[in-house]
Symmetry: C2
Subunit: 412 residues, 2 copies
């Protein structure tokens, strides 16, 4: 076989694995009990590796808030000192089968969702959804934020554990149905969050604290975000480490850099500068206030959702100033850089074609088309939170570097 045949065979395999997988929500538990290697002194963060000192302010603040949540610091200053002391180990979520939106800060005592891919036996994890406004993942750390995290740990997590233990939830099916109902599953989760709540309601309503749990979820339109992300990661992970494959298995940002990983070069990060997203800002804010793009949520685009499925949700494109035509265009661009189409995620506006699945570094390098990523925009200062929504792109450099390395490894 010549190398192009090897690549085709490997990419077909990676694509098939991503396409064939399932993602089932089976448990909720403390991070330290379920995430492999998780310890008291480890803090997980979004994006490729980064030192605490180099993090953007909202991510630093989220670290500080998490240390207070863990009872390791009394205040932000103490937490900052501890974070710089060398006693804490910082790790990308992605390196321990996890993901987290925005700052992605996950610590040992936090409840996380557990998602299984029964086709391949792997598991993935994600922290719980706080909602909008003042929340840790955007770098807010006040009493209200910590109280909510404690409530979630004591009430939401255990309740959801009981409910999904009784009846696991097929997250891929909910994602597929959400896409039939106007969600692209990165910005917009209106339908999928309702579908999730509806799917658990029968068992949820059996619990003594059903009312408050129900209300917490019902009040959060993006509740499904923190379930869709580990679902997509559960589909991606088994496609990692396939020799010769040029399919992207991870795309993620830490506010400073944007990193990708490629199946055929397992474990290697290729990075470039994280963009400041272009988008629509809430009243009083503008692009000069915005933090660099951050969060593991680009796992949605890695699996063909979000920006690549823009055609499913013209309302999202409209939110950032575009038209339904722009939404369709973003998906058409997606087809130019992906291996094939999802068999399960079908886009009504594209004549029910499957979502563009399996971003190929060869195609990105050939066309210079970068996947559109739909994202929330955070203020660059800690504690202010979300200031808009928009579109970002990975840096072309990451794809160029990946191709260069690939050529060296495989003698292209």
């Amino acid at each position: 076989m010549d190398i192009s045949e090897e690549i085709e065979k490997a990419n077909r395999k990676a694509f098939d694995i991503m396409n064939r997988g399932k993602a089932v929500l089976t448990d909720f538990d403390f991070a330290r009990k379920v995430i492999p290697g998780m310890k008291e002194n480890i803090i997980l963060h979004a994006g490729p590796p980064i030192d605490y000192a180099d993090m953007i302010d909202p991510m630093k603040a989220a670290v500080q808030g998490a240390l207070m949540f863990e009872g390791k610091a009394e205040n932000l200053e103490e937490a900052d000192k501890l974070a710089r002391s060398g006693e804490i180990e910082f790790k990308p979520c992605h390196e321990v089968s996890s993901v987290g939106p925005m700052a992605g800060i996950t610590t040992a005592s936090m409840f996380v969702a557990v998602v299984e891919n029964p086709e391949f036996g792997n598991r993935t994890f994600c922290n719980l959804h706080e909602g909008r406004g003042k929340i840790l993942r955007f770098g807010a750390t006040g009493k209200e934020v910590l109280d909510r995290l404690n409530w979630m740990n004591e009430n939401l997590g255990p309740a959801l554990k009981e409910v999904v233990k009784k009846k696991p939830v097929d997250l891929k099916s909910i994602a597929a149905e959400g896409v039939q109902m106007g969600d692209e599953l990165h910005q917009r989760y209106r339908a999928s969050s309702l579908l999730f709540l509806s799917s658990i309601s029968e068992n949820l309503l059996e619990l003594p604290n059903a009312k408050e749990i129900f209300k917490f979820i019902a009040d959060r339109e993006q509740f499904f975000l923190n379930l869709a992300m580990p679902a997509m990661k559960a589909l991606a992970d088994p496609a990692d480490g396939i020799k010769y494959s040029t399919i992207v298995t991870r795309m993620t940002r830490n506010g400073v850099s944007f990193g990708i990983q490629v199946s055929g070069m397992k474990g290697k990060w290729f990075t470039g500068k994280a963009e400041v997203p272009i988008g629509l800002y809430f009243t009083g804010f503008s692009q000069k206030d915005a933090a660099g793009d951050f969060g593991d949520s680009a796992i949605m685009e890695t699996l063909g959702l979000g920006g690549l499925s823009s055609a499913a949700a013209p309302a999202v494109t409209r939110f950032v100033g575009g038209s339904p035509k722009d939404a369709i265009h973003a998906t058409e661009q997606g087809y130019k850089i992906t291996y094939g189409q999802s068999k399960d995620i079908l886009l009504p506006a594209m004549d029910f074609q499957g979502a563009p699945l399996g971003i190929d570094i060869l195609k990105v390098n050939e066309t210079n088309i970068l996947p559109s990523i739909n994202t929330g925009i955070a203020h660059k200062k800690a504690g202010i939170g979300q200031i808009g929504g928009g579109i970002s792109h990975p840096p072309l450099k990451a794809f160029n570097d990946a191709l260069r390395e690939y050529a060296e490894v495989y003698g292209l």
Copy 2:
């Protein structure tokens, strides 16, 4: 003013009234307590006026089942005899501010929804949603059907009454949001039913029997049908009786004939033969098994939803064998025969244009384009129920007759 100016002015007024109205769910109660003139010996049915003897079998059976539900007959034979005795008065739902899907049979003791249009002070009514399968509205009458109706009267209706008394529900907003989420609101109510349930859940969960009520609604994907219909009727009714107006205010079928009414000729039915819908049949059934088109649900198209908003729900068009392109075409045809566009019901796939609103008999006569109506298909024999879904059209004759009469009345 010449007559064309009179017509334009009148149609603008009718259109504005339909467009400006609101539809708020404010109560549930026994039909006899809320529907004007409702009495023990009155049976309301779908469509234009029809004698019992002339009804199609599923509608006859629904009458018989309703008489048993009312305790006026022990069995179907007794009920049939009573229905033919002259003691029962049969009336179209539409003539007492009501609507009912399929057979539309509504009797004095049934719980109905009460919808108000606060802009114009009018109220409308509709019976409660039974679900699919063996149900009275398709002519099923067994113990299971009557038991369910009794349970609905004793549990569902009173619970919903309590809930909406605490917090009325803006049905037009739910319809508008449903259309953003893949519902066209005649065949497909997946999103709007979830949105409705979510909107009442906080107060619903306060009730002692919350769990069973919640489950009953959550299990019924078309639950919102019996709320959307009186909502649309609440918007239509104030536009009735505007001198010179050629806007259609009612479209409805009784299985034998299809009737329309026109604003400028209040109270007059123009009818033609009800079509057998063209569509997709469940396994084992074909068009020769199908009943003539029936139900008041064409009130949805009268207000620009259903077939006229096909572009919102390509999944529905696909269900009956068409493509997203066909769905957009059906909506484009709708624009050719309507006065204008809804300001609230916006269609993402049509670049967020409003739904085609205000069917004009002049435009229908000029173009010979008939509005597409999305409908369920019933077996022509009683008790078998739904056998498919498809598309029907009103008879051109009804529009021709209306124009002829209009010319006589107004000297066109």
